[in-house]
Every structure is written in structure tokens, then in C-alpha cells.
């Protein structure tokens, strides 16, 4: 095979590979629009005299009647235990300041641990893993971070190759 033909064949193969990778990347970007979402157990908490933690799966479903435990600060015994109610909520009234934990576990290993900070005035506050970004947005952000990490590795390798003595 002549050199020119081999070069042309190689260029065509690289072009085909580039097209395939671009198509796969495009597919990944389209997927977040799908209704099938991850199995993370998200939550949102409200602030008040009693703490209310609402649990939900990313597709909007809720872990109805799954078992939960509320752990008081610096205590190894559960302060409260039971099952999530019919609207996917756990509510409890903290009797001391500190970081409280609400732990939910399903039989197949899914679950979440929510930390609720209670001040001296009794007001509770907690971060919400579920408030803010929608699940498709999270998926897109995750892919973006991931490709960004590999981009940084490629940049670092390129810089190192340029600075390497010939």
C-alpha cells in the first residue's frame, strides 16, 4: 500500500473514531432528559420547633413506610424510631441542642442519613440533598465534572510533554 493511501486510510479511521466518540458524547448529553433516574434518596427539611424531614426518590416517588431512626447528639440509643409516614415525612421534636441524625434504611441497602442542627433556641436547620438542582441537571453536571477531570489530565500531560527535555 502506498504511503499516501496509508495516510489517507489512517486519517479516515481517525475521522470515523472521532465521529463515533462525538455521537456517544451526544447520546450521553441527551440521556438526562430521560424519565429514568438514579436511586439516591433525597430529602428536604423545614425549620421550626419540630423538625420535619421529607424523603423522596429522584423520580418523585417516596419511601413510604420504610423504617427510620432519629439519633440524638452524643447518644448511641435511638431517640425515636418508626416508619416514614404516608406523605414521606419524618417529624420529631428535639429536646436539646446539637446535631441530630435521621437515618433511613431500606432492605435492599438504599437509604440516607440526614443531619439536623438544633440551636439553643430550639430552631432546627439542615441542608437539603434534593433542594436546588433537578436530577437531570445533576446528571449533566456530573458528566461535565467527569469530562473536565479528564480534560485537566490531558492538559497536564500536554504541558509536561512540552517541558520535557528533547
Amino acid at each position: 500500500m502506498s504511503l499516501r493511501r496509508r495516510l489517507r486510510t489512517g486519517a479516515q479511521r481517525r475521522r470515523r473514531e472521532a465521529c463515533l466518540i462525538a455521537a456517544l458524547a451526544g447520546l450521553l448529553l441527551l440521556l438526562p432528559g430521560s424519565s429514568a433516574l438514579a436511586h439516591a434518596l433525597l430529602h428536604e427539611s423545614s425549620v421550626g420547633e419540630a423538625a420535619v424531614v421529607q424523603f423522596l426518590f429522584p423520580d418523585g416517588d417516596k419511601p413510604y413506610f420504610e423504617a427510620y431512626r432519629v439519633m440524638a447528639p452524643d447518644d448511641t440509643r435511638p431517640f425515636q424510631s418508626g416508619r416514614i409516614n404516608a406523605v414521606g415525612e419524618v417529624s420529631f421534636r428535639p429536646d436539646r441542642p446539637g446535631t441530630w441524625r435521621v437515618v433511613v434504611a431500606t432492605e435492599d441497602g438504599h437509604g440516607a442519613e440526614v443531619r439536623v442542627d438544633v440551636g439553643r433556641e430550639g430552631a432546627a436547620s439542615a441542608g437539603g440533598a434534593g433542594a436546588g438542582l433537578s436530577q437531570p441537571a445533576r446528571l449533566t453536571a456530573g458528566i461535565g465534572y467527569l469530562l473536565g477531570v479528564f480534560g485537566l489530565i490531558a492538559l497536564w500531560r500536554g504541558r509536561r510533554a512540552r517541558h520535557r527535555p528533547a
Binding site: A25, A36, H39, A40, V103, G109, L139, L146, R157
Partner: protein
């Protein structure tokens, strides 16, 4: 299958961390040696595919649902060490961005899905590929998913035995092996079948494109 934070005890995740750290270091060395500049964008896309596969729920018979893992494909195309490292990155992002899995549970998840999953798929494929390559891919991915699920079920079911409060109640995950083994393994029979077929389709394409050095060497 990701274990979230708060469900496993320090007696579990600290030893797991001690095992995982040297393995990550070794995997980073293998990554530097094995993944050249040409393969890096391809690894990025395959890792992103694993991230998506393990983030999307599949409805399963019985009203439950589960997700694929994606590490088998990484192991068959890039080798087990690179797959382990890439899948650890997937797990970190899932914990930080998706709320699936967790940081204290990361070593256990990485060992169960990333390490055991990748090595089982890789070794089983190389054991069976002389029989029939397509069958080897299907069997390798299916068994690797079941092994990973088995390890997760064993770790979770162990928690009530090793971490109890003063009154004997479980401090972390409350269910024993009689619950975790069927609850985790049975759904993964279906997930394993679906992921094995998907992996075979992509693996065939990768082999045609000579993205798998061993397969190209054999064909040449």
C-alpha cells in the same frame, strides 16, 4: 447498589479504606503506564457512560428497580486497574453530585463495585474467551455484577452483628443476611443480564475499532 453514608460502621469502612488506598495508588501507576494520550478521550467517554448507566434506574419485575454498574465494560476495554480507578471517580461524583453512595462508604463501594467487579469481569473473560469470545463477555459481566452485589449484601448484613447500641439494637444498617442477600441479589440477576447484553454490543464495536489491545493482537 451504592451504600450510602450512615449505614455502615467505622469497623467496616476504616479497614476498607486501609485496603483501598494502596490499591488506588497502584491503579494510578497503572493508569499512567497504560493509558496514552490517544486513549484518554476514549476513557473519558467510557467513564461518562458508566456514570450514566449507574445513575439511571431500570424497572424490574416485582415492582422494584435497580441500576447497571458499567465497570465490566471499562475492565474489558481498559483493564482492571484503570477500570477500578475510573470507577472510583464515578463513585466520588455520584456521592457529591447525585446524592447516591457516600464519602465514608466510598472505600467499600469502590472495593465491591470497582475492584471486585472489574477484576472478576477481566479474569473470567480471559478464562473463557478461548471457548467463545461473546459468551465470555456475557458471562464475565453477569458474574461480576453478582459478585459485587454479593459483597454489598454481605457487608450490609454484617452491620447488625458488629455494631450494636447498649440495648443490643443495631446502630447502623438494621437488617441481617437473611434480608439483604435476597433483597440485593435477586434484582441483580435481571440487572446482570441486561448489562451483559449492553456490554457485549459495545465491546464488539470496541474490538472492531481495535480499542482493545489484546483483541487486536490476537486478530493481527
Amino acid at each position: 447498589m451504592h451504600i450510602p453514608d450512615g449505614l455502615i460502621s467505622p469497623q467496616t469502612y476504616l479497614p476498607a479504606l486501609a485496603v483501598a488506598v494502596p490499591l488506588w495508588w497502584w491503579a494510578a501507576r497503572a493508569f499512567t503506564r497504560q493509558v496514552g494520550d490517544e486513549a484518554l478521550p476514549r476513557l473519558a467517554v467510557f467513564t461518562a457512560l458508566a456514570f450514566v448507566l449507574s445513575s439511571l434506574m431500570l424497572p424490574l419485575p416485582g415492582g422494584t428497580s435497580g441500576h447497571a454498574i458499567g465497570v465490566g465494560l471499562l475492565a474489558l476495554v481498559f483493564g482492571p486497574w484503570v477500570a477500578f480507578l475510573a470507577y472510583t471517580l464515578v463513585l466520588v461524583l455520584q456521592a457529591l453530585v447525585m446524592g447516591a453512595g457516600g464519602i465514608t462508604a466510598l472505600p467499600v463501594n469502590a472495593l465491591a463495585m470497582g475492584f471486585i467487579g472489574a477484576w472478576t469481569a477481566y479474569l473470567l473473560f480471559h478464562l473463557l474467551r478461548h471457548v467463545q469470545a461473546d459468551f465470555a463477555v456475557l458471562a464475565a459481566v453477569f458474574v461480576s455484577i453478582l459478585f459485587s452485589a454479593l459483597l454489598v449484601a454481605l457487608v450490609l448484613g454484617l452491620q447488625p452483628l458488629i455494631a450494636q447500641g447498649p440495648d443490643g439494637s443495631p446502630r447502623f444498617f438494621p437488617f441481617g443476611w437473611s434480608v439483604t442477600l435476597p433483597a440485593i441479589l435477586l434484582p441483580h440477576l435481571f440487572i446482570g443480564l441486561a448489562e451483559a447484553v449492553l456490554t457485549l454490543l459495545i465491546w464488539r464495536h470496541a474490538r472492531r475499532r481495535c480499542w482493545i489491545p489484546a483483541a487486536c493482537g490476537r486478530e493481527a
